[in-house]
Symmetry: C2
């Protein structure tokens, strides 16, 4: 059975070997740069792990695995423009290293390249594969739009938040698994179980992201702690805090959201989160998603030994420290 | 035999009936707005006309026709951001009416919607259709990048210019015809002839665009005359003028390119074009592409009567006044 590490090594080799045209340089250099940015390759790994549950020829799913990672990198590239992010993985973002126009256009080209890989499937599998991918791709755009909409709203409910992260993050993990399953020859029920499993780990993964941004260990996490707090991002923690606080606490929280001193703001809001127990609520919720995910995987009619690495990965994504 | 007008009416009906989701509003409203912008629907018309050469069931090609127009509108939407254009067809551009982030994201979603329609083909035709579309879509991005590269260059050759407009404009007209032919059941040779015909009318069409921007009748053309001159755009006219002028004329031209008085600049450069005969050179070249296009269509093994509307359209695209 393949280990995640082996798959990541295999994928790194594949990504470094993609031959993009040389010219026009300003279209293809940013794509190369964005693709070889040292990501963890979670989505293509899920595709290959899912394919391997049903076939030894899991490498048949490599084009789709690569296409899904290209798509993910395309979304990061365009999201970074929209968020005006300067740095990604300790390197300047594409629109900062080049410029915004180049980032828009090379992102577009990356999305098209993603489709090239995704549609490089056995013709008998193309309709199903593309149907899943088309639907997922549009949902990811919807998720990003909701996320932007939430910036100017103070009344986002927990339900709306969960729907947003489902669209923005979870459906792509789910589709990566489902497409791997399709190419691997899985039956419809197994495809569905893996998709649903992907939704659960995706939700847990994103909650963990929110959690670590506030409660992570700065030495391990690798990013600055408190970025979400500084930018008043509508995370699970903030939404839950606004929902569960009484009049006094809410007033205190509102004041801190407007606090110009960053350190004071982070410290103050973090303390309110702890007072209200929203850190615990988030941890419980992640645990709940993790349990639901593993329960789903239990139901999959595949030998347990084969599923081991997916269990590991679910654990890793939700219980990670960085 | 279908007339272009009937096809345009049919297409308008189709576009106005597309049901995009209601929410998130800021994702789908701009798409609706961009799609129903009163374009001439040239590309989807070419798809249906090409399909009808080979089958009475030309409506089978409607999804692809719609997808190609969605793709075209996506390119306009993102190009308008890159060019910082304020108006398109007398209406504010999407990034001006909403904002840049919304324009980036709704453009992305439009590209994905285009793929949804394109891939809605008989499974036996999907591989071929997607291969043509994927290749074309990436070429259009390449053309746009070359066009942007040319902005900061004064040494663009005629050959480079023609290659750029081939990528940016002609290949999409060509692919629209070819995909219509594929869905219509055409043999490989007919597909190729129609593709090549599309390249020729595309080149002629773009040259005409350049020509009208400088020499069009302001009352008929509908856009301001001289926009390309004001922005020092590397059109066929400017490139040819720089190539064919002697030392003195070139100096005069260079001075005018830096002239701050817009009216003086337009008038002066226009006069140089006429002195050097680049207006005539452009007209001759359009005539040449038109002849090559009709010669190609002559070779297509389809009754002449059926081809009539394509002959008309070629003439219209290259000999239009607006």
């Amino acid at each position: 059975m393949l280990k995640l590490k082996e798959i990541q090594t295999l994928l790194e080799g594949e990504f470094s070997e993609i031959k993009f045209p040389i010219s026009p340089e300003k279209l293809y250099q940013p794509i190369k740069y964005a693709v070889n940015n040292g990501g963890k390759r979670i989505r293509p790994a899920l595709t290959l792990l899912a394919a391997e549950l049903f076939t030894d020829e899991y490498k048949k799913a490599l084009p789709q695995a690569i296409g899904l990672e290209l798509f993910h990198n395309f979304t990061l590239l365009h999201d970074d423009i929209m968020d005006n992010a300067e740095v990604r993985r300790n390197q300047p973002t594409v629109h900062k290293k080049w410029n915004e126009n180049i980032a828009i256009l090379s992102g577009d080209a990356m999305l098209i390249e993603a489709y090239k890989y995704i549609s490089n499937a056995d013709p008998s599998l193309m309709p199903e594969t593309l149907k899943v991918f088309n639907q997922t791709a549009i949902e990811v755009c919807e998720g990003q739009q909701y996320d932007m909409d939430f910036e100017s709203r103070m009344d986002v409910s927990e339900k709306e938040y969960l729907q947003m992260i489902k669209l923005k993050t979870a459906v792509l993990l789910a589709a990566s698994l489902k497409i791997g399953a399709i190419v691997g020859g899985a039956d419809a029920l197994s495809q569905k179980i893996l998709y649903d499993f992907g939704i659960k780990i995706g939700l847990g993964f994103q909650l963990k992201d929110d959690f670590l941004d506030t409660f992570g260990n700065p030495e391990v996490f690798g990013k600055n702690i408190g970025g979400d707090i500084v930018s008043n991002k509508k995370t699970f923690l903030l939404i839950k805090a606004l929902e569960t606080s009484n009049e006094n606490k809410k007033r205190e929280l509102q004041q801190l959201l407007a606090e110009p001193n960053i350190d004071k703001k982070i410290e103050g809001i973090k303390n309110i989160y702890i007072d209200l127990g929203v850190d615990e609520a988030a941890t419980n919720m992640m645990g709940e998603y993790y349990t639901q995910a593993t329960n789903m995987l239990n139901e999959l009619s595949v030998e347990n030994q084969k599923k081991e690495e997916l269990y590991n990965l679910a654990k890793k994504l939700i219980q990670r420290d960085k």
